[in-house]
Symmetry: C2
Subunit: 206 residues, 2 copies
């Protein structure tokens, strides 16, 4: 049995964040498919036995069972000694971007993608509202990535993996990253070049 | 000069989270008003000198300048030795709820309130979409608060203060907390009973 077990599904960038960390840190891990699109995470039973927040991913490591990708990433950085902060200041800086990511950068984008690619709502007022919020958040990140190679400095950290959650998915959302956010596009290339990197649908085939 | 300086504005529940912590932990602090509604946080100058994420609050403590209320709360719990986690497990549990709060519980509610109370959009598709998301997140928290007095157990922590950010504001949002979420309503009463508690517009008069 692998050391780490990741409950996830391949369409979830929240899960991809963690799969990417496990992969790039060279962990011994395996995936367990959560049949999200069958509605399992919305059932009372699943919430009681797996996650009261009704979300994937979940990481199992021995007796420890964790949810919330930000907490899982922080845990894995501690356990593996890789991609974490090296000082209290750097750890705070990493959390600062993970929070911004959860509140705005990934949050708005993942909802926009969900509506367009899976709920297939087409171009509604809600879609336009979310896209406006995405563009504002992406603008802030693009500026930050104009100053440094990675989100908190010159080396990749779990803050980058958090923010990379949805940026490699192919679904169309009407957000033109190469055209409008060149620093994000260049950062994506740097992430893609990390040894062992795989795209979401390749990394999470289970 | 006070030991802590909080840059904030009274309509911001993101700031109230921190003001509440400073107040309940008995810190020596003062507020500095950020003229948010004049658009200052959206200017390039302010972003360069204060916060590249374009947000309040900001906490100043000596040479340390912090943004993102979750990071500030964690910092204050460390500095004061109050309302933080007492074990790695409890600290992870606190972060787990702070992340859920930033992603869903406070995030959707604060946006809903902003549209209705300040942008005065009236009942749009976007308002209805956000209210649906609020109800789902509130349902999860209501269930959690049915098991324990506070969000991660039997004593208040910074996770409660994070989640209390917007729940004491009086603006009308069409979310009936007493009627639909009795456990949240009871938790609000417990927070309100903590020694030194003040409502947002009383605590942030500066």
């Amino acid at each position: 049995m692998a050391e780490f077990k990741l409950h996830a599904f391949e369409q979830s960038g929240h899960a991809y964040r963690v799969a990417l960390m496990l992969q790039l840190a060279g962990c011994d891990w395996e995936g367990v498919r959560v049949p999200f699109f069958d509605g399992v995470t919305r059932t009372e039973t699943w919430r009681e036995t797996h996650n009261e927040m009704g979300e994937a991913p979940i990481l199992e490591h021995g007796e420890t069972k964790l949810t919330q990708s930000g907490v899982i990433l922080d845990y894995l950085a501690d356990i593996t000694g890789q991609f974490g902060g090296r000082s209290p200041e750097e750890r705070r800086e990493i959390w600062r971007w993970i929070l911004f990511d959860n509140h705005k950068f990934t949050s708005y984008y993942s909802t926009l993608r969900f509506l367009l690619a899976f709920q297939k709502t087409g171009e509604t007022e809600v879609v336009q509202f979310l896209r406006g919020r995405v563009l504002a958040a992406y603008g802030i990140v693009d500026k930050q990535l104009g100053h440094a190679d990675f989100i908190v400095g010159e080396r990749p950290t779990i803050a980058d993996f958090s923010m990379a959650g949805y940026v490699f998915y192919p679904e169309e959302t009407g957000v033109d990253v190469p055209g409008q956010f060149p620093a994000i596009e260049a950062w994506k290339e740097r992430i893609r070049a990390l040894p062992g990197w795989q795209a979401p649908y390749d990394l999470m085939r289970f």
